[in-house]
């Protein structure tokens, strides 16, 4: 049995959460697209991952399966590890180049 997406009751049900999730994802993507500070880009990437976790949790609740919730643990862990490695790279880069701006970090090209 399927219901149209927006017709799902109650007013702030699954679709609303999904809307928030999608908005977060889009904002994060947009940030990655727009921002030049690598650190902020990382933050935006985190936002995208978090958007997915929100959708996971929402689905988990409305589908009645716990697996989504459990997956969030993994996602958070992985995201943290990613950030750690990423920040280490940025620090190392900053030591060499004294910048964290993306447009200055493009020696690899063509």
């Amino acid at each position: 049995m399927m219901t149209p997406f927006l017709a799902a009751a109650p007013v702030y049900g699954l679709p609303s959460y999904l809307l928030v999730s999608a908005l977060l994802f889009a904002i994060g993507f947009f940030g990655v697209l727009l921002r030049k500070n690598t650190l902020v880009i990382y933050m935006c990437l985190e936002l995208m991952l978090l958007a997915s976790t929100l959708a996971l949790v929402a689905f988990s609740k409305f589908n009645g399966t716990l697996d989504g919730n459990v997956f969030v643990f993994f996602v958070l862990t992985i995201a943290a590890a990613e950030v750690a490695v990423g920040l280490a790279i940025i620090v190392a880069l900053f030591r060499q180049r004294h910048t964290v701006q993306v447009e200055e970090l493009n020696q690899l090209k063509h």
Partner: protein, 505 residues
């Protein structure tokens, strides 16, 4: 829930089946321990230990090939043992073994730390093997991220080098982005499938089988289709398919040579292993969408990869871009496998030949490159054939195999793919592939030309790098390894029985 139940469930986790992965993980830990407790002058054995671990596992897997594992799902459906999984294991083990060999050449030259490298390689190898056998999106994502994070580190491994770090940064940002896309896709699938109760057991959209059943019944569910395609997009990043290929040359160039090889071979193969599993065992009801999507990806990937490689003089970027085109050919195989089942075997065959040839070429590249391996240009090969004829020959065979020239193994790989594509009536893709192969002749043979024909002058004026003295020739092990790769490449061109007997059964 009682403790007994927990134990019972835990008992169903058949760890023995993951022996190879566990061995590697334990080996990785052991490396750390050995580094801590052994005196510093004995650290030079660490690479050999890592290689030995890989070798032992490889032998073990090969010896037990097809004996003990049928088609069974373990760990409550997280992992599925299968013949393609075994093939993937062998592939990744072999690849990692060669990556370790490359590392023994490159790392000392670059004054880079050793043990961590081998440790990460072992862990990543184990994760790759799990990835190829995963049967569950959580397992899939976790294994994939382990691989990816391992690669983030490996790519930026030369922390003294700006280029390596920049490559790491780019790989990380784009990798994380693709992971986010992939994850979103998984979430959409999870959401779309919902809760499925079967025989009292609750299934979710994380399980491959459940998704497959769901898609069979709802092949036009938008959420699931979108999720599936986003997952495919995430995998496309791994295999470097258009338009997710754009990172490839930069990252390949910046990464240390062994890592480039690892990326080019294992990471790509992992992508294809996953893609084959997904396409066959999860998304197969979506053929109406998958075939055009994958065909488009294949065609654009072939054309873009070849065109972009055409005027490339940096060897690593060249390998990267040509690797992109190989991904395109392989995608044709994947598309063909939807209608011609044996094409999956052909994809694996191709991957094996690609492994042999690429590793040979990377081996030569490792020897030709000085301490700075990011700026290796075709011009640096000017005197290779004269001064190091052995390396020249290895290069010629490797590059020739990549170009798909008979009698080398790469040709047989392409042939099988083409035959499969023909049987699947993918005529348009075949035409594209042929055009691609012809274009590829330009740059592949341009490379051979650079190595073999003297007085080769670069077309780009003004930017002529000074001729570099060739570094020391290969060691005994290097000779043996490269010769073995070359010989295998040649022999597989003539006699395919060893591979086909497993891959195309």
């Amino acid at each position: 829930m009682s403790t007994e139940l927990l134990q019972a469930i835990a008992a169903s986790n058949e760890w023995w089946a993951l022996g190879p992965e566990l061995t590697l993980a334990c080996g990785a830990l052991a490396l750390l321990v050995i580094e801590l407790i052994s005196p510093k002058e004995q650290h030079r054995f660490i690479p050999h230990l890592a290689s030995m671990a890989l070798g032992v596992v490889l032998v073990g897997v090969v010896m037990n090939f097809g004996k003990t594992w049928g088609e069974e799902e373990l760990f409550g459906g997280l992992v599925r043992l299968s013949v393609p999984g075994q093939i993937a294991r062998i592939f990744f083990l072999l690849s990692s073994l060669l990556v370790c060999f490359l590392a023994t050449i490159c790392l000392p030259r670059a004054r880079a730390p050793r043990v961590e490298f081998y440790h990460i390689v072992l862990v990543v190898t184990a994760a790759l093997m799990l990835l190829a056998q995963s049967n569950h999106f959580v397992m899939f994502f976790v294994a994939l991220e382990t691989v990816t994070i391992g690669f983030y580190i490996l790519v930026s491994y030369y922390r003294e080098r700006v280029l390596s770090l920049e490559a790491g940064l780019k790989y990380l940002v784009l990798g994380a982005l693709s992971s986010a896309i992939l994850l979103f896709g998984i979430v959409l699938l999870y959401g779309a499938v919902g809760r499925v109760e079967q025989g009292g057991i609750v299934h979710t959209g994380f399980e491959y089988g459940t998704v497959l059943n769901f898609l069979r019944e709802n092949p036009d569910n938008f959420l699931a289709t979108a999720g599936a395609l986003l997952v495919i997009g995430g995998v496309a990043f791994k295999i470097g398919a258009f338009p997710f290929q754009i990172w490839v040359p930069d990252v390949y160039q910046g990464a240390p040579t062994p890592v480039t090889a690892f990326l080019a071979v294992s990471s790509k193969a992992a992508g294809f292993a996953v893609l084959l599993t997904l396409v066959h065992r999860v998304f197969s009801p979506l053929q109406a969408v998958l075939v055009p999507v994958l065909s488009l990806l294949a065609a654009t990937t072939i054309i873009f990869g070849n065109l972009a490689a055409l005027k490339q003089h940096n060897t690593k970027r060249l390998m990267g871009l040509s690797g992109v085109s190989h991904a395109g050919y392989l995608l044709i195989g994947v598309v063909a496998s939807l209608t011609v089942p044996w094409a999956a075997g052909a994809v694996w065959f191709y991957l094996f030949t690609y492994l042999l040839a690429s590793m040979a070429v990377f081996g030569v590249m490792a020897y030709v490159a000085g301490p700075d391996d990011s700026g290796e240009e075709l011009d640096h090969y000017g005197r290779l054939a004269r001064e190091r004829p052995f390396l020249g020959a290895v290069l010629a065979v490797g590059v020739g195999s990549l170009a798909g020239i008979p009698p080398l193994a790469g040709f047989m790989g392409k042939l099988l793919l083409f035959v499969a594509a023909f049987q699947a009536h993918l005529y348009g893709l075949l035409v594209v592939a042929v055009i691609g192969v012809v274009i590829s002749i330009f740059y592949y043979f341009g490379w051979i030309r650079a190595a073999w024909f003297e007085s080769w002058s670069p077309p780009a004026p003004g930017a002529v790098p000074a001729p570099r003295p060739l570094p020391a020739g290969p060691t005994f092990i290097g000779v043996i390894t490269l010769a073995a790769l070359t010989l295998a490449t040649v022999l597989l061109g003539f006699y395919q029985q060893p591979l086909t007997s497993w891959l195309l059964e």
